[in-house]
Symmetry: C2
């Protein structure tokens, strides 16, 4: 398998973590979002959506990080990341989507670019926008976590942690005050003691700047 990745892409970061947790052998190919390489003809031929990540498998190229995560879950069921019965899986997916639908897309690089280039929003207002959507989302997620938890749901890493950790990484980068979210911060810290998470972190990628 080949994963098309950019060190700071939250969505690629999710898939990097899952591949590590599941011990799936893969090759990492880097695509520079800042240079818009995701819209090059070569990459668009792989993923016509022109977004990261994409996973090249023997059957073809998969796009959309959450579709990739669900696919890996079905095809590599050892080390499951959706654990339990349908109700418990729904709790895990609830947190995944609270991040992957409600926070990340609104704060995505292309949205921030539109704010500044098309709407003339200045840097301060752009950063306030970023923090606003993280905080609205984290306010909700903090309520969903248990006291003294090490992971979002249960006592093992799940897809919820796979989605949460990259979002916290970016929240810290945009100076969100994590003291307001002690449970989220504790999960982030604990996950990063595991090499599957820390090896996937942006600063440990070959294209890190």
């Amino acid at each position: 398998m080949k994963l098309y990745s950019y060190f700071r892409s939250s969505a690629a970061y999710r898939v990097r973590i899952a591949l590590n947790l599941k011990h799936i052998d893969h090759q990492l190919l880097t695509v520079n979002l800042l240079k818009s390489e995701q819209q090059s003809a070569d990459y668009m031929a792989k993923n016509p959506q022109g977004l990261l990540p994409a996973l090249e498998t023997e059957q073809g190229v998969l796009a959309q990080s959450l579709a990739i995560l669900e696919y890996l879950e079905e095809t590599y069921p050892e080390t499951p990341l959706l654990i339990g019965n349908a109700w418990q899986k729904a709790q895990i997916r609830n947190i995944c989507y609270a991040i992957a639908c409600d926070i990340h897309p609104v704060d995505n690089l292309r949205v921030l670019k539109y704010l500044t280039s098309e709407l003339g929003v200045d840097d301060d207002a752009k950063n306030a926008w970023y923090r606003h959507w993280v905080e609205v989302g984290f306010d909700s997620i903090e309520k969903l976590l248990s006291e003294n938890c090490q992971f979002c749901v249960g006592d093992k890493p799940t897809l919820a942690d796979v989605c949460l950790v990259p979002q916290v990484f970016n929240a810290i980068r945009f100076k969100v005050d994590m003291n307001k979210y002690p449970k989220i911060a504790a999960v982030y810290q604990h996950c990063n003691t595991l090499s599957a998470f820390s090896d996937a972190a942006p600063q440990n990628q070959p294209d890190a700047v």
Copy 2:
């Protein structure tokens, strides 16, 4: 089961379609987003995320439309909406997330409100924003559909159609030119010939204005 819904909520509209396709008996309770009833103490006690939809089941309340759809898929496997092997399911989910992550959240009511109230964006620029993100997303999805298709993937309705139809409904409302997307428009038209889709449409809801 009780579904908390608002006639124009795209995310609630998805769940309404899925409940109909799966013939799941349920009660509809309306929550008025324009009056911010989703943030009332009563509703927040049900769904601390303060968003629509929520599905009240015997086990408790589920939030996040995609988590609800996956839960219904696992617990009501008759009339499957994720059809085929892992690869085919990934194609279905790819389209779901291209809508539910890449288009809908950026054009959500609360984001549009922030644009106007916090950033002073006028109505024309707000509507241009709306259409921009729909068009970027539909440009991608149009490439993923087959010629002369009746549904997004295969010859039966799937979760991809469940997500696409509400997004097209809103695109038309915001005057996106659907002539640019003949394959998407054909799927939308065909789905709406089925009562599971048309019964779930905003204009056919008890709270429709």
